[in-house]
């Protein structure tokens, strides 16, 4: 087939199969190739909490969605244009999301009676006409894969396991991806096992060649590169970006980085990533529990490290007491919460934004902490750096609210020049700062910087600064244990004022309102930025005037936010919770913020936002 590929501006692909079928790997590889090709893209991995859920069942379906485009996009797309279903369960779990006219590519070999029954099909959907609204391509992926790799001596049972590479090859052909990088990657990745390497390579080629020669596919597509600013880019997940941001700011500031963590989905990859970077002097400590993870970070902060603890919702519950101690000790520390569905174990692999109120208020006593939330996977890098700046400058724990969507999703990330990252000056205390009653030099651990209200960071090892701190209330300035009520009131206000004062370092938010005539404002925070921005664009494409403001800073809130909120007649807050930000904004600004809620363990769709805009405009 020599027909030139037809141009497409964007496409949404969804790979779906059993959780052991390698769908994540396949999706990631296709994404990487598209990134290198120059497309803009966004991804949405979607997998079950079980490592190997019962094969062939709906519960065991693992999927990976990616949108690639020739223009700037902000989400992984609402509904797949193309569904690649490796088995009946993969089809059944996703077909309801497809719109009329979508393409379905199925591994027809997997549609036997047993597999159909496992997926809950009474009739074969390929035969009963139920898919008539779609273009269905039945490809015998298993048998073609087995045939291709049998030649190199792979047993049929093992050969079958390469069928995801067949699918990858086929899709690469269909969307005119260059294949040199993928074949090189296969060689490298499977270098240790030549038989597996050859099997995967042959399966990949067989898929690609099938597209080329079978004439099953009448059209081949091409998505031109998107107009990116010149420079170097990497495809990056939120978890990796967050880890690299921490490494970068620690390295630039010449502070040792310490991570105390306990494995928990979907935050563990930050621990994994940081554990690799011993060359940067990063100390990672897999603690016995979430509490010890946070506690060890406090010890490391006291020792003079840039101290971090990472977790997800249930872990944040357990860390609350330690965070309260860090508030009292006034030591710099970063707590990363990669949010997932709750309460309790909830939906461990699915996205939700339900920890905002916990981050803001989830400690006993008046216990304020700055809270930040990254907007996109790449923004996790900058947010980690900003969290470190605030933590060190103000000597305070800072909570970063990422989420499962950002953690595993990817986007092209402009690689920064390391030298462009300004170092943090830890400004360690080096000598006495007061005089005691007898006129001798003394060190007062709670004598504050009048501008920031930050107390000195005095690390052990410096003679003359020996001092005792702790969870008991401290006397203003001297830091001696103090039970006096008046002093407690002074200290409570000082801690609150210090955190409120972080607003001085927070830029005003900028409203995205191209028409200047919008009466409706959409306010978002954290990982919903991309999908909601896509919805706002969709509304604007219908000539609806709508403004959008996105918050990265949840505490303190940007100084100009109140004025912005009150200048629109209607304000809506789409959130993956029951209205947590809306409740904060209502109480703070007395503005009647309406909640657009979704708690389905999935990001918003642009269409849902568009519909909400239509409802409220």
């Amino acid at each position: 087939m020599t027909q030139p590929p037809s141009p497409l501006s964007s496409v949404v692909l969804r790979f779906a199969g059993d959780s052991g079928d390698g769908m994540q790997l396949t999706g990631e590889r296709f994404t990487t190739e598209s990134a290198v090709f120059g497309n803009d893209l966004a991804t949405l991995p979607d997998f079950p909490a079980e490592i190997r859920a019962p094969a062939g069942t709906l519960g065991g379906v693992s999927a990976f969605q990616v949108q690639i485009s020739d223009h700037d996009i902000t989400s992984a797309g609402d509904t797949p244009d193309v569904l690649i279903a490796m088995n009946p369960a993969g089809l059944r779990a996703n077909v309801a999301q497809l719109e009329r006219g979508a393409t379905i590519i199925v591994n027809v070999d997997a549609f036997d009676e047993r597999a159909l029954a496992k997926a809950g099909y009474l009739e074969n959907p390929l035969a009963d006409g139920s898919l008539s609204a779609f273009s269905v391509f039945e490809v015998p992926m298993t048998s073609l894969t087995t045939a291709a790799s049998e030649e190199v001596g792979v047993k049929p049972r093992d050969a079958e396991r390469s069928k995801n590479f067949f699918a990858l090859g086929l899709v690469c052909w269909l969307y005119s991806r260059p294949i040199e990088n993928i074949t090189a990657w296969i060689d490298k990745r499977f270098a240790k096992n030549d038989l597996v390497r050859q099997a995967n390579y042959r399966a990949f080629r067989a898929g690609y060649d099938f597209g080329e020669t079978s004439e099953a596919f009448a059209v081949r597509y091409e998505i031109a590169p998107a107009p990116f600013a010149p420079g170097e880019y990497a495809n990056i997940t939120g978890n990796t970006a967050l880890a690299w941001g921490l490494v970068a700011i620690a390295q630039r500031s010449n502070l040792p980085l310490f991570l105390g963590s306990y494995p928990i989905t979907p935050a563990s990859d930050i621990l994994h990533e940081l554990s690799k970077h011993k060359r940067f002097g990063v100390r990672t400590f897999q603690a016995e529990d979430e509490i010890a993870a946070a506690a060890s970070a406090i010890g490391a902060a006291y020792a003079g490290s840039l101290a971090v603890t990472t977790t997800s919702g249930p872990g944040l519950d357990l860390k609350s007491e330690a965070i309260g101690l860090a508030v009292a000790l006034e030591l710099p520390m970063i707590i990363v919460d990669v949010q997932r569905g709750g309460p309790s174990t909830g939906l461990p692999t699915k996205v939700e934004q339900t920890d905002l109120l916990h981050a803001l208020y989830g400690r006993h006593g008046e216990s304020p902490v700055p809270v930040l939330a990254p907007a996109t996977p790449g923004d996790c890098f900058d947010t980690a750096i900003e969290a470190a700046r605030i933590a060190v400058k103000y000597r305070t724990p800072v909570i970063v609210l990422s989420d499962a969507y950002l953690a595993n999703g990817t986007e092209p990330w402009p690689i920064p020049d390391p030298l462009s990252i300004d170092p943090i000056d830890p400004d360690f205390a080096s000598g006495p700062n007061a005089t005691d009653a007898e006129g001798n030099p003394a060190f007062w651990p709670y004598l504050r910087n009048p501008e920031t209200l930050a107390r000195p960071w005095a690390v052990p090892g410096v003679a003359g600064l020996e001092h005792r701190i702790g969870g008991l209330e401290k006397a203003d300035k001297t830091g001696a244990v103090a039970y006096d009520g008046k002093n407690h009131e002074v200290m409570t206000h000082l801690r609150a004022d210090k955190v409120a004062g972080v607003v001085a370092d927070i830029p005003d938010v900028v409203v995205d309102d191209p028409s200047g005539a919008a009466r409706l404002l959409v306010v978002t925070w954290g990982g919903t930025y991309g999908p909601v921005a896509a919805g706002v664009r969709r509304a604007r494409a219908r000539s609806v005037n709508v403004a959008h403001v996105h918050l990265r800073h949840l505490n303190p809130l940007p100084a100009n936010l109140g004025e912005i909120l009150s200048s629109y007649s209607t304000v809506i807050s789409p959130e993956l919770n029951l209205g947590q930000l809306a409740s904060v904004l209502r109480s703070r600004y007395l503005v009647d913020v309406k909640t657009v809620s979704k708690v389905q363990g999935a990001p918003f769709r642009a269409a849902e936002i568009d519909a909400a805009i239509e409802e409220y405009r």
Partner: protein, 340 residues
């Protein structure tokens, strides 16, 4: 940090804070023993950190003129772990009690011991909750009548030494608040140990559990009731050293009067035995506060220290692959260039 060690006296180690334990509390004698010992330990005040959790004992750091952190209930070993691995140049001492270390903080205690983190843990055991005014603790004897157990405690107590040995701690010892010299000698040895060292200190709470250890630690009963362990020596005790410790065939130990017949079979204490079973058997010798009780060093073995291992991996990686380079890190997973 590497400044020469200054000559100090006891008063250099005393902070300006008013000590607020109940009059007559055993904590005073422990504090005095430590403050008097510090000038002999060849360490500067600024390189010493006392870390505590919650409880009466946990106020200890406020009274030491060193660096100190009074933290949250049970978590001191975890906080001390983050501190000790980040700063191998420091001497980190954890001050804890029976509730703090063995109830709410039991998990952190066993894992700090298992990892062999370079910290010295002083566990003040008074077999009662003092700061909350007199509830039974995990070391209280079964049947103990307290405010929360008016009909008697139902629980079998922990023996802190047994727990530590079960966690394969590399240094485990016991001493008591009635004998300053013994306390100081035991703590001195714990301080010198590389890795995690646990010292249980029998401590009298004269308000809520007065006399808990009187039967074994009082001057009149001490000779017959305390079995002082000495490495390499047969374990004998009593005013005339007339009693000895012997081993049953199943490995457990018992006390008996020494005779010509059994003298040769007395247990010889080996604190450096690689297997903790012998030390564990000694820790099970006593089932109440009214029987002869071993004190001194139960176990003292060498095992790589956790912080050394952790920092060693960093040094190895840097020596093998060079120092980290951010520009290379950012390109490590593949990158592409968009030209102008």
């Amino acid at each position: 940090m590497s400044t020469p060690v200054q000559l100090t006296t006891r008063k250099d180690w005393v902070s300006d804070q008013e000590v607020r334990w109940c009059p007559g509390c055993g904590d005073y004698s422990i504090l005095a023993a430590v403050q008097m010992l510090m000038p002999e330990l060849n360490v500067n005040r600024e390189d010493t950190v006392f870390v505590s959790g919650i409880g009466c004992a946990a106020r200890f750091p406020y009274y030491m003129n060193t660096y100190g952190v009074h933290t949250i209930h049970g978590r001191a070993p975890a906080i001390a772990t983050g501190l000790a691995v980040s700063r191998p140049d420091l001497h980190v001492v954890v001050i804890s009690g029976d509730g703090d270390a063995l109830s709410i903080g039991g998990n952190h205690l066993i894992h700090a011991l298992r990892r062999n983190v370079n910290i010295t843990i002083l566990l003040f055991n008074n077999r009662i909750y003092g700061l909350t005014k007199g509830q039974y603790s995990p070391t209280s004897e079964r049947g103990k009548v307290t405010k929360s157990t008016p009909a008697g405690s139902l629980e079998a107590p922990f023996d802190p030494v047994s727990v530590a040995l079960g966690a394969e701690a590399t240094f485990v010892a016991r001493t008591h608040d009635m004998d300053r010299a013994h306390m100081q000698e035991t703590i001195r040895r714990a301080w010198a140990h590389e890795g995690a060292a646990l010292v249980e200190i029998y401590q009298n709470c004269n308000v809520f559990n007065d006399g808990a250890f009187t039967d074994i630690t009082s001057r009149t009963s001490r000779d017959d009731m305390l079995i002082d362990l000495h490495h390499g020596e047969p374990i004998r005790f009593g005013a005339q050293k007339q009693f000895g410790v012997f081993r049953h065939l199943d490995g457990s130990v018992y006390t008996d009067t020494i005779t010509l017949d059994n003298e040769a079979s007395m247990v010889v204490h080996d604190e450096s035995a690689p297997d903790p079973s012998g030390a564990f058997a000694l820790s099970r010798l006593t089932r109440s506060d009214h029987e002869p009780t071993p004190v001194g060093v139960f176990r003292n073995v060498q095992r790589p220290e956790y912080g050394d291992l952790l920092n060693g991996q960093i040094v190895d990686s840097q020596e093998r692959d060079g120092l980290g380079d951010l520009a290379a890190l950012f390109r490590g997973n593949g990158s592409w260039t968009v030209s102008a």
